[in-house]
């Protein structure tokens, strides 16, 4: 009766389409179909057409991916010359379980949308389009129904019919485009989709519907988690080979309510090796890019703080003092220096970022600090600090015979020199990556290439900002002390942080390359010093002069050949802690004890300081033992993809990271707590004891 009434209403209100329906088995039809135009179709214009299915109670029709069985409806238009028709747009389907199978489809009714484009020449009056439609409708059994349906466009009542609400409703059931770029991968029989997200914690339910068949076992439950700005969908793999597909579309369903209909995002995942993404990530229902702005703020702050790091400060303070000298005479030139320096810093940061993105998209499990996981790089940096130190000490100040970077650094006064000072500042800042940047870099690396580069550029801008400000604002220049003889002494004093940095890097190397590595690096220092000494004592005669230069160059080459390679296992942690591994962690998570995870690296000063003042202390040791806290330490001194992945799970791309997993209470383990990157014994105790 209701169907009859509906049918009457349909004909009364629209009189636009008449569909003869023929069911195969006498009974039925189980699906009533009508075609509804959105409005008047103008010459060269386009409108939407609704293909409305009214489905008999208890029966269902299928989505474009019907799931384990069934078949999607097929619509074949017979169009007059010049007309075009777009792809079918499908509303979000429902999951329809059937015995051990799962289908995707619609019950009661559904409106598919399709765009129709008119030719440029379109005569006035009504146009009739025909569509052959096959629909498979199933309950316990399946019945294919087919019919030819008419769509009358620009008929007498087309202009008077107001379909706004009808089409608005239909569009409201379509999935929205997903805000982030998704990637997919297969991990040990599981299909894994990852998508960067930045949405509030209030999302209560998620679900996943595959648009492409055979990627997952439809009936297996999907496991959807959000951690550290990353949404991960895991579902057992289906039988279709990954090589069979290129892009994998799907729907992500989410809801902020415990019950009721869910919202849907449509995404197209690309294989995860190509991590370059297309769009930045707004949060649903919140101001877009808010999180990006916050992250950029921290990047700027982090960059500013870098200026105070022991390895950067000496270089910059000398540079700043020389700037004052220039600024007194030529303010315009000072500004030029400021700009050139800023450009140098940002340029180097972008190069690093580009390298990092390229390596990551090549599949390398790396994070920031990756440069220092390479003993060759550590050795070269140690030597660089040593050479800068020698320069500051006044051991050599001769103007550039060869690539005398240190000399140019402090003495040079063309904008080109300032540019390279910027490059150098970035290089020497590398080991001192501050805690503020952990979040920024972690965020950056999980985002699209664009926001990635943006974060790095802002980081660089932060590093360059003090000098840039100094070069532009004369008032700031006045704050600096007047140049004088004291500068010479000050400069020599500043050599010592450089030597200290070099010594520390050699110690890092000892963890990476062992005793021989340290010996090689130290011999390199000797050879470099020898080469510099040779150059300082060049004889007057050309022949001897050249001979001495050859010896100097040989000394430098010999040093380069000494660069230690290879890696050795980092030292095992001592009694108090246990070595972290994913297996160890999951094994402990199975149990009931609280767990404290520390990720560290020999070259990470912050990590070492935190460890010394907040963790390896009598009070923390006591708290850990009283509360049965299992203390796991992971060492990222050398590359370790498992640790990199763990860091990523928390949205980080560098160490340190401290994670506390509370003990199980009533069998339930609370969410892990991420501790700050600067620790005090109080912070650790509070995390563990709760007060």
């Amino acid at each position: 009766m209701r169907r009859l009434l509906k049918a009457c209403l349909v004909s009364l209100f629209f009189l636009l389409s008449i569909g003869p329906v023929r069911a195969q088995d006498g009974e039925g039809p189980y699906v009533q179909i009508r075609l509804v135009p959105e409005g008047v179709l103008k010459p060269g214009g386009e409108i939407y057409v609704a293909i409305e299915q009214s489905i008999a109670p208890g029966w269902h029709t299928y989505w474009k991916n019907p799931g384990d069985s069934g078949a999607a409806p097929r619509i074949k238009w017979s169009l007059p010359a010049g007309f075009e028709v777009g792809e079918i747009e499908w509303p979000v389907p429902h999951k329809l379980p059937y015995g051990p199978l799962l289908n995707y489809g619609y019950e009661d009714g559904v409106i598919l949308l399709q765009k129709i484009r008119a030719p440029a020449e379109l005569a006035e009056g009504a146009v009739t389009l025909k569509a052959d439609i096959d629909v498979l409708v199933c309950k316990e059994i399946c019945i294919p129904e087919s019919g030819t349906y008419e769509l009358i466009l620009n008929g007498l009542d087309s202009s008077s019919a107001d379909n706004t609400d009808y089409f608005g409703n239909a569009r409201g059931k379509m999935p929205a485009p997903a805000p982030g770029h998704a990637t997919y991968a297969e991990q040990g029989g599981t299909f894994v989709i990852e998508m960067p997200v930045a949405w509030p914690q209030t999302i209560k339910r998620y679900d996943y519907i595959p648009t492409e068949w055979g990627m997952v076992e439809n009936t297996a439950p999907s496991e959807i988690t959000v951690e550290g700005g990353r949404l991960t969908i895991k579902q057992p793999r289906g039988q279709r080979a990954l090589s069979d597909v290129n892009e994998v579309p799907g729907l992500l369903l989410w809801s902020m309510e415990d019950t009721g209909p869910m919202n849907a995002y449509a995404f197209t995942a690309t294989i995860s090796d190509t991590s370059v993404a297309a769009t930045p990530v707004p949060a649903p229902n919140t101001a877009p890019d808010q999180s990006l702005i916050v992250v950029l703020f921290f990047a700027l702050l982090g960059g500013l703080i870098l200026n105070l790091m022991p390895c950067v400060f000496p270089v910059l303070s000398i540079k700043a003092l020389s700037l004052v000298k220039i600024a007194e005479k030529e303010p315009a030139k000072a500004r030029l220096h400021g700009i050139a320096y800023t450009a140098g810093v940002i340029f180097s940061f972008l190069i690093s970022a580009g390298l990092l993105i390229a390596l990551k998209s090549g599949g390398a499990q790396i994070g920031w600090g990756f440069q220092l996981q390479n003993p060759e790089m550590v050795t070269l940096l140690a030597w660089l600090f040593f050479i800068i130190g020698l320069n500051l000490s006044g051991i050599f100040e001769i103007g550039g015979h060869f690539g005398n970077v240190g000399n140019k650094l402090t003495q040079g006064n063309t904008p080109g020199h300032s540019f390279f000072t910027g490059v150098l500042a970035t290089l020497v800042a590398t080991p001192c990556i501050g805690p503020f940047m952990g979040v920024a870099l972690g965020f950056g690396l999980t985002q699209s290439a664009f926001s990635n580069l943006l974060v790095f550029a802002v980081l660089g801008f932060g590093l360059a900002l003090p000098y840039l400000a100094l070069s532009f604002i004369p008032a700031l220049q006045k704050i600096l002390p007047k140049p004088g003889v004291w500068m010479h002494t000050f400069k020599q004093l500043l050599a010592f942080p450089m030597y200290a940095s070099a010594a520390w890097l050699v110690w890092v190397l000892s963890q990476q390359s062992g005793q021989m590595g340290v010996f090689a690096a130290l011999m390199g220092l000797v050879l470099i010093a020898f080469g510099i000494w040779l150059l300082r004592h060049e004889p007057a005669k050309l022949l001897w002069k050249n001979l001495v230069r050859v010896f100097a160059i040989l000394a430098f080459l010999a040093a380069l050949m000494l660069i230690p390679g290879g890696t050795q296992k980092p030292e095992k942690s001592t009694g108090f802690s246990q070595e972290w591994s994913p297996q160890k962690l999951s094994q402990l998570l199975e149990g009931g004890d609280a767990i404290f995870v520390e990720m560290t690296a020999a070259w990470c000063i912050t990590c070492k300081v935190n460890h010394a003042i907040a963790i390896d202390t009598p009070s923390t040791r006591r708290v850990f033992s009283e509360r049965n806290v299992q203390y796991l330490v992971g060492d990222w001194t050398n590359q370790n993809p498992e640790i990199t992945q763990y860091l990523n799970e928390f949205g980080r791309n560098g160490v340190p990271i401290y994670v506390y997993y509370g003990p199980r209470s009533n069998g339930v383990r609370p969410e892990p707590v991420l501790l700050p990157q600067i620790l005090t014994p109080g912070i650790v105790a509070k995390a563990v004891t709760g007060n």
Partner: protein
């Protein structure tokens, strides 16, 4: 061991209201099964090693099965395959009381009326074989090579239309797979999305 596990899982599936079963992957050993065919003859897949085997899931009341028998497409495919020495086993996993459930006598009559010539017909009332293969639709086709490895799983052809006349113009994946195997080539399309009615397993 894998076969053993698959069997355990299939039995387990029956016992505890059918959880999701991992489908046998193309390229891995086809799950073994033993059954008695509609003529009372014992069939064991492992005994058919050395022969190419085709498994066809059927339900004579399903419109998609009707499409392929009504158009003569399934019979033609069976004839071409068996002429090459392929062992063709038609399996009906409809549970008692569900659509397509038939007696052995009826099954034989339906097949001979349709002019079908499979090598054997099996009534898999319990759904054990169906679930071991994760057979989802009727028709759902599987090709097993001479070594007992699953070489194809999916639809009979590439046109999921319900119309019998579309069968003639569609690409027949089963015949293509048989040709590839005969030529010693890897199967070009080893999987496709099966289409049709759901297999009417019992609850």
């Amino acid at each position: 061991m894998k076969k053993f596990l698959a069997t355990i899982m299939a039995v387990g599936a029956l016992a505890i209201a059918a959880p999701a079963i991992a489908a046998p992957a193309v390229g891995s050993p086809a799950p073994d099964f033993s059954a008695t065919d509609v003529n009372g003859k014992a069939i064991k897949l492992a005994d058919l090693k050395g022969k190419i085997v085709v498994l066809e899931w059927t339900n004579n009341e399903c419109p998609y099965v009707k499409k392929h028998y009504g158009s003569g497409n399934m019979q033609k495919t069976q004839k071409e395959a068996t002429a090459k020495g392929v062992e063709w086993i038609t399996i009906n996993s409809s549970a008692p009381g569900r659509q397509g459930h038939v007696s052995a006598e009826d099954a034989k009559k339906i097949m001979s009326d349709a002019g079908g010539t499979p090598s054997a017909e099996i009534l898999d009332e319990s759904g054990t074989i169906g679930k071991a293969y994760d057979a989802k639709t009727t028709p759902h086709m599987f090709v097993i090579d001479k070594e007992g490895t699953l070489a194809y799983a999916g639809a009979i052809d590439d046109n999921p239309s319900p119309k019998p006349e579309d069968a003639a113009t569609a690409k027949n994946y089963v015949l293509a797979a048989l040709n590839d195997i005969e030529a010693g080539k890897p199967v070009e399309t080893p999987t496709s999305q099966p289409y049709g009615c759901a297999v009417k397993y019992g609850d």
